[in-house]
Every structure is written in structure tokens, then in C-alpha cells.
Assembly symmetry: C2
Homo-oligomer: 350 residues x 2
Amino acid sequence: MLKFEIRSFRAHGFLMVRRLACSLTLLTFIGVVSAQAQTDSLPSWNDGAAKTAVKSFIADVTTPGNAKFVPPEDRVAVFDNDGTLLAEMPNINLAFALDEVRRLSGAHPEWRTNEPFKAILDNARAYLSKLSRDDTVSLALAAFAGTDEKTFEQTASAWLQTASNPTLHRPYQSLVYQPQLELLQLLRANGFKVYLVSGGEVDFLRSFANAEYGIPPEQVIGSSVRYDYKVVDGQPTIERVAQLGSLNDGPGNVANIQLHIGKRPILAFGNSDGDEPMLAMTAANDKPHLVLILHHDDAEREFAYDRAGPSWGRLDKLWDEANERHWQIVSMKNDFRLIFPPLTKANESK
Amino acid sequence: MLKFEIRSFRAHGFLMVRRLACSLTLLTFIGVVSAQAQTDSLPSWNDGAAKTAVKSFIADVTTPGNAKFVPPEDRVAVFDNDGTLLAEMPNINLAFALDEVRRLSGAHPEWRTNEPFKAILDNARAYLSKLSRDDTVSLALAAFAGTDEKTFEQTASAWLQTASNPTLHRPYQSLVYQPQLELLQLLRANGFKVYLVSGGEVDFLRSFANAEYGIPPEQVIGSSVRYDYKVVDGQPTIERVAQLGSLNDGPGNVANIQLHIGKRPILAFGNSDGDEPMLAMTAANDKPHLVLILHHDDAEREFAYDRAGPSWGRLDKLWDEANERHWQIVSMKNDFRLIFPPLTKANESK
């Protein structure tokens, strides 16, 4: 490559000098843009009502003397995961569960004849596209239980290293929404404690929440299996038992926010009907608060779905309520200048 | 009072001047002691093995380059409440439950004939001194459930304002161990995140944990009742249902530490057999760790009990294990220079 360039320079010296001049101009331009970006804490958000609402709210609650000032200890923000921070087609928890069933099937001959396992092993897409709630719970228990806590951590991390979203052809870690990463960062810089509150399994979420979102394990609230403390060969360990601990969805979100945080949030961001109770509870906070809803309306850059979306991502009743109560809708098409971060060495397909 | 002092000064001018001189000497002395105290972050701990173990551990895990260095995000410390941070004779949760049963008894005529409620209303001490596990759960559900989350918060705060420990004749808030307050402060100053992990009810613990220990609501892990999300008259609320959510004791501590924190602690402090799993799990951390056990051996200044202590405060099997495994015993008699903080306007009997 270097050899080619040297030869090329010899042959086309004049052209190269012109190119260099162009490059310098480009660099200057990039420098200017980058300086502008530095003054804007949400560079991947387009100017508009949503960006203004977010920035005004943060300014209000952090300015001492402002009527809407909220002390740092009460600046609690909760974010849904699937479809709010991360593309959810397919859902990352479900993708992991399917792969786990395939990986573990050798030890479970009964899965060849029992649904929903049979459908996975036969790759019966029609069945898989209409999983019932019972199917989902069976799958979750098969994938998220049956090991100890250390083994599970290793399994989840190993899966994330290799798995890719089959529709968008990118690894799951690269399907985080860039504008949301900027918002999380802005909130933290303004003294907010940001929690992930998701129907996904809590330890699975933890396997990427810190690296991808900067959300540490103790700020992840999710569904859980039963944990049993056992001493095995003298080593204290936690057995992950195939029994539902808690389902962190809908009303379960609110219950678990009380159990884990003990305070009502002042900011909540969701995208589907399952997030409604968490958003309504935030809207009922006596303190100033902001409720945000992400609208998947960008078929070109991501997906477009709302009322007719899949069960876990449907925006139907919540859509009506949001419009009635003037909760802030964030349009992916209009408010997001960028959807995903550029692919880098760290997040490119493996 | 002022009038008396002026008259007194006129009559005994010389005496007053002498007294003033004495006071100045005293002030100088206090100044010196206070300056000394400032150089010692644990002034209420006597020098000895326990104080040295604590200080060495903190120095080791916070010194970059030290083989035992632990990054701040892994500096998780867990403290039991009753008998570790606060006098537990009687147990503050039980004292609250008994008072609640008395307060609510008008609306529960059936309690006049049903145990354990009858025993409380009849003040049958013999029965109350031997409550069974079932009794305790019945009492807990009667006292900690049946309201919404805001009403419960107000009830707990109101009780704390007036309740006093009947044996030590001090309000419960003043029965926090001064040396432990210094330890909590020292840990926080060294980047530790300190959690309260107790069999007590989580929202009840939260009603004083921040004010007394500086432990915020989201760092309190306790037993819980079931939370049901309800919208009542258009207002989202959390009903506290009379059903056990989780019993945060023994193995339950470890399960809930995983659920809430998702990391093994590097420091754990307990005082009774119920704390054993949490201490054993901490001792099994690959990272440097310190396990501490408070021994109630000071009948003069507090209480003396271990193997024959009440069920919730018994130090029996744990005592043997601690000695075998060389876990650090902290003697209240020998290691604590002071037990309780001096009574002040804020914590004196009301």
C-alpha cells in the first residue's frame, strides 16, 4: 500500500499536492464541525421539540434557585432497554435464548419433540414468530437458569462476542442508538443516576450494560430467575434455579423500582405499552419530571412499527395516552440525526 | 436564666473569672484532642488488632500499585443492621411491629382472641419473649403491609420521632454505634459503596438509613412485602400487600445481594449466625476481602450475648467458623472506646 502511494506520488506529484491541499481543507472543516459538536452535548439529535424538551428539563432541574431544581440525590432516570436503547428486532434476550437452546440441545433429547424447543431445533419460523407468553417463559428458564452465577456470566459474555443481528447484519453491541448514548452521558454529567429497567434477564443485561451504556451492575433492574445459595465442594455459589423470580414488565417495573431504588424517577424513557406503568409512575412524581417515548418510524435506517408491532414492542395504548397527556414523543426519523454509532474495530461484525 | 447569670456574675465576679480561665484551658485541651482526632479517622476505636485490620485493608485496596488494589467500582461493602450498626435489644423492626399492632387494633377485633396479636394487646411478656417464626411473619405482615407506599413512609417516620428503646431509655436513632458511623464514613471517603443488608423490612429501614448512617434508599436491601401497582382515583400508587416478597436473611441475603448489586462484596460486617452466608460469600471473593464480626461482650455499656443470644442475634456456629477461618472479631468491650454517640438535641429522648 505504502509502495503504491510512493509510486503514485512520483507519477502524479501535482495531483497529490492538490489532494493534500484538499485534505487539509477537509481537516479544517472537520475541526470546525468537531468544535461545534463539542458545544452541543447531543450532537446526534436534530434540533426540534424533543431535543429542546430534554435540554430545558436538564437545565431546570440542575439550576439552583430555579423553581424546578431537584437535588442530585433525587435525580433518578430510568430507561427501558429493548427498543429504547437498543434495536429490538429481534429481541436480544430472545436471540440469546434461541442460541442457548441450540447449544444445549444435545443434553435434552426431549426438546426434539416438545414445543417451543422443537420449533427452534427445526427452525420453524412460523411457530417462532408467534411465541406465546408460556413459550417465552419456558425458553427463558431453559436459557437463563440451570447454572451457577459465574458460569452464566461467562456464557453470556462469550455469546456477545460472536452473535450478530441477522436482519441488520451487525453485532448486537453496535445496535445501541448513538443519540441515546449521548443522552445517558449528558444525564450522568448532570448528576443523574441512570437505571436500566427492562423485561430482559438481569444478569444477561449486566453482561453488556456497563460496557455499552456505562450503567453499572447495581443500576440494572430486570426479570430474574430464583437464586439459591449453595456451598458446593466448600465453595459458596449461587444456583440459578429454573423458576421465575420476578417478571420485570409492566406493573412489575414499578414494583421493582420501589424495591431496588425506593424513589420515584424524575425521568423515564420507554417505547412500548409494557413501559406504561413506569412512565405513569414517573409522571405522578410531585417533583418536576419528564416522560419520553421513542417512536420507531424510520423504516429506512431502522424499522417502522407502532400499533401493529410485536407484543414486546407494541406502541398502541401508550401512544394514545402519550398524545393525550402531552408526553414527549421522540421520532427516530426526525429527531435522530444518526441512529447507530459508526462501526469500529470494537463493534464490527466478527 | 440570663438574669440569673448576670446577678451571679455581679455577686461572684472573681469566681466567674476563675471559671472562665478554667474553661479556656478546657477549650484548649478539647482543641488538642480534636486535632488528634482529626488525624485518626476512627477515633472511637481503641488501638488493637481489629482497628489495625480495618485500616490496613482499606490502605491496601485503595493504593494503586499495591498487590491488593481493588478498583473503586468493586469496592462494595455490606453491613448487617440489627446488632451490627444498631443495638438490637429489642429489635427495632419488632418494636415497630408491636406498636403498630397496638395502634391498629381498634380496626381488628379478631386480634383480641388470635395469637400473636392477643399477647401484644394483653402485654403477655412470656409469650412475646418466645415468638415463633410464624408469629414473626404474621406480625410483620400486619405492621408492614396494608397501606400504600406513601402512607407507610409517613407512618414509619412518625413512629421514629417518638419511639424510645425501653431498656436503654434512649430513642432508637441514638442507639447507633459511634465507631461504626466512623467506619462507614471512612469507607465512603475511600470510594466504597456501602450497602445495608438486613432482615428488617426494606422501606422501614430506608426511613432512617440515610439520616442515621448516610446510606441512601437505593443501597438498602431488606425483607419485603409484595408490591402491587394500582391506579387509584387516577393516581398511580403501590399497594403493600400482606404477602412475603422476600425474606432477606441467611441465604436470602446472598440471593438479594446478587439481585440488587450483581457483585460479591469485598467487605462484610455482621454479628450473628444469620449473617453467615453473606460473610462466607464475601470470604469467597477472588479479590482481597475483609470479614468482620461484632461481638456483644460489654454488659456494662450495652449487652453481653453470643451463643445463648436471642434467635435473631445468636453468635454460635458463626463464632466457631470465625475462629477457625481467622475472620476478624471486633470486641465491643475492648475495641470500641465509645459505644453510642453523645445525646444531642437531634437524638435525645422526646
